[in-house]
């Protein structure tokens, strides 16, 4: 494996559609829950320990060889909001395209055939990491980082927040990213014996509810 492949996959410029999504930040800004760097940090921390943890465990499990069909069903079960399911599948489809062009693999081809409209993004992320020769922990790191870097960069655009402040938020969260990534991999390793019920189901009800409201906004900058 090449460890540098992790940098390619985790790069915010990896062309897989993430730029059009705010990870719930636009809805939170609209509701007055994110107003500055401090509240952005609280939002990111909440997202990391809920959606971030779940995504990371799904991605790690995909790297470990759990069948995508089972993981996709597990992701659906952990995503009550139809708007978030749709966003996750759209992003999964875009990542499938980008990953197939970047790291051609029979597994990704099979995934594209099985899910022509996209599987949940974390599942695809895991298979992309696998195709890139990366390990479960690498995919988990990608997922936890995405869970906070998306809202941070969106908030820079939404609030004209100082970009240095937003980046410092990410740096302060780094030790927690380490812990959540490890936790996710541990859960993913249990899937072999216990099935996908071993995956975390940490839920953030406000993210789910706000995503439904956001999807109905007539004017918005981000798709989710």
């Amino acid at each position: 494996m090449s460890r540098a492949a992790l940098l390619v996959l985790a790069d915010g410029r990896f062309p897989a559609g993430g730029h059009a999504h705010s990870g719930g930040a636009e809805a939170a800004v609209g509701a007055g829950r994110i107003t500055d760097a401090e509240s952005l940090e609280a939002f990111c921390r909440g997202r990391l320990h809920t959606a971030g943890l779940v995504s990371a465990a799904l991605a790690a499990a995909a790297v470990l060889g759990v069948p995508p069909r089972e993981l996709d069903a597990a992701a659906d079960a952990r995503t009550p909001s139809p708007a978030l399911r749709l966003a996750a599948r759209k992003l999964g489809r875009q990542l499938t395209r980008a990953a197939r062009a970047t790291w051609p693999s029979a597994e990704l081809d099979a995934l594209a055939r099985e899910f022509p409209k996209g599987a949940h993004q974390p599942v695809v992320l895991g298979l992309a990491a696998r195709a890139a020769g990366l390990e479960a922990v690498d995919a988990a790191y990608c997922a936890v980082y995405e869970s906070v870097s998306g809202p941070a960069s969106a908030t820079v655009r939404l609030l004209s927040l100082d970009p240095f402040d937003a980046t410092a938020v990410l740096a302060r969260l780094a030790p927690e990213l380490d812990r959540v990534a490890d936790q996710a991999v541990e859960a993913a390793r249990n899937v072999a014996d216990e099935g996908t019920d071993a995956l975390p189901a940490a839920s953030a009800p406000l993210l789910e509810i706000a995503a439904e409201l956001h999807a109905a906004w007539p004017v918005r900058l981000f798709a989710s």
């Binding site: 410029r13 062309p15 559609g17 730029h19 059009a20 705010s22 970047t102 081809d109 099979a110 007539p218």
Partner: protein, 226 residues
């Protein structure tokens, strides 16, 4: 782009000129340019001019709304299933150049759902003078500027003005009212673009979109013959 040619899975289509069954896919033409220069109006006029002779569809890339798609729907230039809006996270230039995945899905879904298509127009939301389309997304691109945006734009150049396959200088009917020198704009454009074509256009005149439509037809003829 196509590292996966040796695989048997469904093609990760982008610049590939053929459909899965081997037939020619639709020609894809991008339209970009500054805010308010008349891109959507040009797309609407092209749809009216070409819809009886060609099977066509439109993808819009709005900045923060579905305004452009809704204008086209309201004007009923095409049936609604032939118009798709891509959301760009406030950055049309990213969606048409740096990360084209959402646009590629939109064009492929249109081909699957209402195809076969001859032509897909991909419109960018108004952006800056450097916004150009990726060659992985479109086969040719049109850059639309207008006389009211300042007659020094052709002289200033930039990738849109200098490299687009067609430059439209739009709203020529307004030139006398905004003090723009059309002859100078045409001469500057010529100097920036060498042999690449320039169309001076007023959608309110009798000729309307005719010159642009003729250019699109010539592109399509070359595409089909290739």
């Amino acid at each position: 782009m196509h590292l996966d040619h040796h695989h048997n899975g469904p093609a990760a289509v982008s610049a590939d000129a053929h459909r899965k069954d081997g037939s020619h896919r639709a020609l894809r033409i991008g339209l970009g340019g500054p805010v308010g220069s008349g891109k959507t109006a040009t797309v609407a006029a092209l749809c009216r001019a070409l819809r009886d002779e060609l099977s066509l569809a439109v993808v819009t890339n709005d900045i923060y709304t579905r305004e452009d798609a809704e204008f086209l729907l309201r004007e009923a230039v095409l049936p609604p299933e032939r118009i798709t809006a891509v959301e760009t996270g406030a950055c049309p230039h990213t969606a048409i150049r740096d990360d084209i995945s959402a646009n590629l899905e939109a064009v492929e879904d249109l081909e699957d759902e209402v195809g076969p298509l001859d032509l897909i127009l991909v419109e960018s939301g108004g952006d800056n003078l450097t916004a150009t389309f990726s060659k992985g997304l479109v086969d040719a691109q049109i850059f639309v500027i207008d006389v009211a945006g300042g007659d020094d734009i052709p002289r200033k150049g930039g990738p849109g003005v200098t490299t687009a396959d067609l430059l439209i200088v739009n709203k020529t009917d307004l030139a006398p009212y905004v003090g723009s020198d059309l002859a100078r704009m045409a001469a500057d454009a010529k100097a920036q673009r060498a042999e690449l074509p320039v169309v001076l256009q007023s959608l309110r005149s009798e000729t309307g979109v005719a010159d642009t439509a003729a250019w699109v037809r010539s592109q399509l003829a070359a595409w089909t013959a290739a």
